[in-house]
């Protein structure tokens, strides 16, 4: 006789949790409980690493931007840093400040979306319109700040594409003091003490510090287990060392801790943006070796063509640049053989090890909790698959 509760399989696809993109989880179930999950990834694998080998550094930026659309600037920033370390570019102070503002704005945007997606996974759609409204506002604001330059190519090796709009500090101040706080307090009112939300997230998907480290976690997912590791603080890039901000920590390592940390981080990012925009240095925005004005003479014009067409020759070498992207450590490993195109371009994706650890994290949990756990990890399959 077949036992009433037998082992069965379930395919959780094609979007196992809200907004993460296409992927497939094959779950082995024991009744309602998950025994084992085999994540199948690669549905968004577009071969970006190979394509980047065929492009100049500028073209590589555009490809890097496509890796994580929900966190603008995060991937291009890492790529630009790697390219700068390879070529030894001197990034002007103003560009450094603007890049920090943009990176933190992207982090706020990404964390807001992640929170909305987690809320949707946990059973409430009410946060989604709030987050969408806020992200549309951010998009419109970035359009003004970047003066219409597409986000994909605004952050470049050597600096930024063009100077930001003169009214940038005022726009940011208004956004940080009037618009964003009300959205955040509304989200907090809706979720933080919400009994249903807590019952679906507290104690769910918990992982301890040692396991998380061994699994390759980074970013919020690692800090939710109590590991004090943030690339911005521990290996400061740009001018993060000069900015006062804190790294919030939690020790529970569950979905709720990750949710709380994202909210706390938004406040820290706001403090960073506030501080940097109040002390925005004046001056150049891009290393002159990387950009030539279009209004110069014929020699400048032909150099510009050379720079944009054939790209800049980089010295042979290997370089790894890690950044704290909203989803964790996003790194770029560039190998150059002395040409204008990278010999090898490797993107260290933050979500890749997280997807791999999904099996361990969901072991023994309810089938319904799988999407909550995945949602709380804020994975993007476009970034995982590359």
């Amino acid at each position: 006789m077949i036992p009433w509760q037998s082992v069965s399989f379930a395919n959780i696809a094609p979007e196992p949790s809200a907004g993460i993109g296409m992927c497939r989880l094959v779950a082995q179930l024991d009744g309602e409980k998950v025994r084992r999950i085999d994540p199948h990834i690669g549905f968004s694998h577009r071969g970006v690493e190979k394509l980047a080998e065929g492009g100049t550094l500028l073209q590589g930026l555009v490809l890097a931007d496509k890796l994580n659309r929900s966190a603008p600037f995060s991937c291009t920033h890492a790529f630009a840093l790697a390219a700068e370390r390879l070529t030894g570019a001197k990034v002007p102070e103003r560009a450094v400040a603007v890049r920090m503002i943009l990176a933190e704005t992207g982090r706020i945007l990404s964390h807001l979306r992640a929170t909305a997606n987690l809320a949707a996974d946990a059973g409430t759609d009410v946060v989604e319109p709030l987050a969408r409204q806020a992200s549309e506002r951010i998009g419109a604001m970035l359009d003004v700040i970047c003066r219409g330059c597409p986000a994909a190519v605004f952050v470049r090796a050597g600096g930024i594409a063009n100077d930001v709009a003169p009214q940038t500090p005022e726009i940011l101040f208004r956004w940080l003091t009037r618009e964003l706080p009300s959205v955040l307090s509304e989200i907090e009112d809706l979720l933080t003490e919400n009994a249903v939300f807590k019952s679906r997230t507290v104690g769910v998907g918990a992982i301890d510090a040692a396991d998380a480290l061994a699994a390759g976690f980074s970013g919020v997912n690692l800090r939710a287990c109590g590991v004090d590791w943030d690339v911005r603080k521990k290996e400061p890039y740009e001018a993060y060392a000069a900015v006062p901000f804190e790294i919030p920590l939690k020790t529970q390592g569950d979905c709720y801790a990750r949710y709380l940390l994202r909210l706390f981080e938004i406040y820290q990012s706001m403090a960073i943006i506030r501080h940097v925009s109040e002390h925005l240095p004046a001056g150049e925005v891009i290393d002159p070796d990387f950009d030539v004005g279009a209004d110069g003479g014929l020699t400048e014009l032909s150099r510009r063509f050379e720079l944009y067409g054939n790209g800049m020759k980089t010295p042979a070498g290997e370089v790894y640049a890690a950044t704290e992207s909203p989803s964790g450590e996003f790194g770029v490993f560039l190998v150059s053989d002395g040409g204008a195109r990278p010999y090898r371009c490797r993107f260290r994706s933050a979500g890749f090890p997280v997807m791999q650890a999904l099996n361990r994290m969901t072991e023994g949990c309810d089938l319904a909790d799988v999407r909550v756990i995945l949602g709380s990890l804020a994975v993007q399959t476009t970034e995982v698959d590359r």
């Binding site: 395919n11 094609p14 979007e15 296409m22 690669g42 071969g47 496509k66 659309r69």
Partner: protein
């Protein structure tokens, strides 16, 4: 997840429960009634869809239009085809975004194919990524195409 023939077939072959795909019911009567969106790349079509005032629903069997958003990777291609096959005729396909149309910046990649190679595309919506206005324009063009088809029989 509903249980039906399409679902189990799909599960067996690709492990994909097609019913979980987001679809969209448009309201107006000369509109294509329902749009099924397959997000395969980095183009998010859901935000523009929602922005144009539509409500997402979930079943290819109820869909009239397949919206292929983003680069169609070789791994995702059979799934997209499967979704298309599950839709009842008459059915239409919108390729959404440069990547779906030509491959876009991923056009030279070993892992990327084109929407038109997988399913018969009726309307292309260009952009990287296209915005809500471009999508509404695409739906308008599809509507005109359907009207012409009806007129010409």
């Amino acid at each position: 997840m509903g249980m039906n023939g399409g679902w189990t077939d799909c599960l067996r072959e690709h492990g994909f429960a097609a019913v979980a795909f987001k679809a969209l019911a448009a309201a107006a009567c000369s509109d294509p009634d329902a749009v099924l969106a397959a997000a395969t790349g980095c183009c998010s079509c859901f935000a523009p869809l929602v922005r144009s005032g539509k409500t997402p629903v979930f079943n290819p069997h109820h869909a009239d239009v397949l919206l292929v958003a983003g680069a169609v990777t070789e791994k995702a291609a059979p799934v997209v085809r499967r979704l298309y096959d599950q839709m009842p005729a008459p059915k239409y396909v919108i390729a959404f975004g440069n990547c779906a149309i030509t491959g876009g910046v991923f056009g030279g990649s070993y892992a990327v194919t084109r929407a038109a190679d997988i399913v018969p595309v009726d309307v292309c919506v260009t952009g990287c990524p296209p915005d809500a206005a471009a999508l509404i324009d695409g739906i308008d063009r599809l509507r005109a195409l359907i009207r012409r088809e009806i007129k010409e029989g």
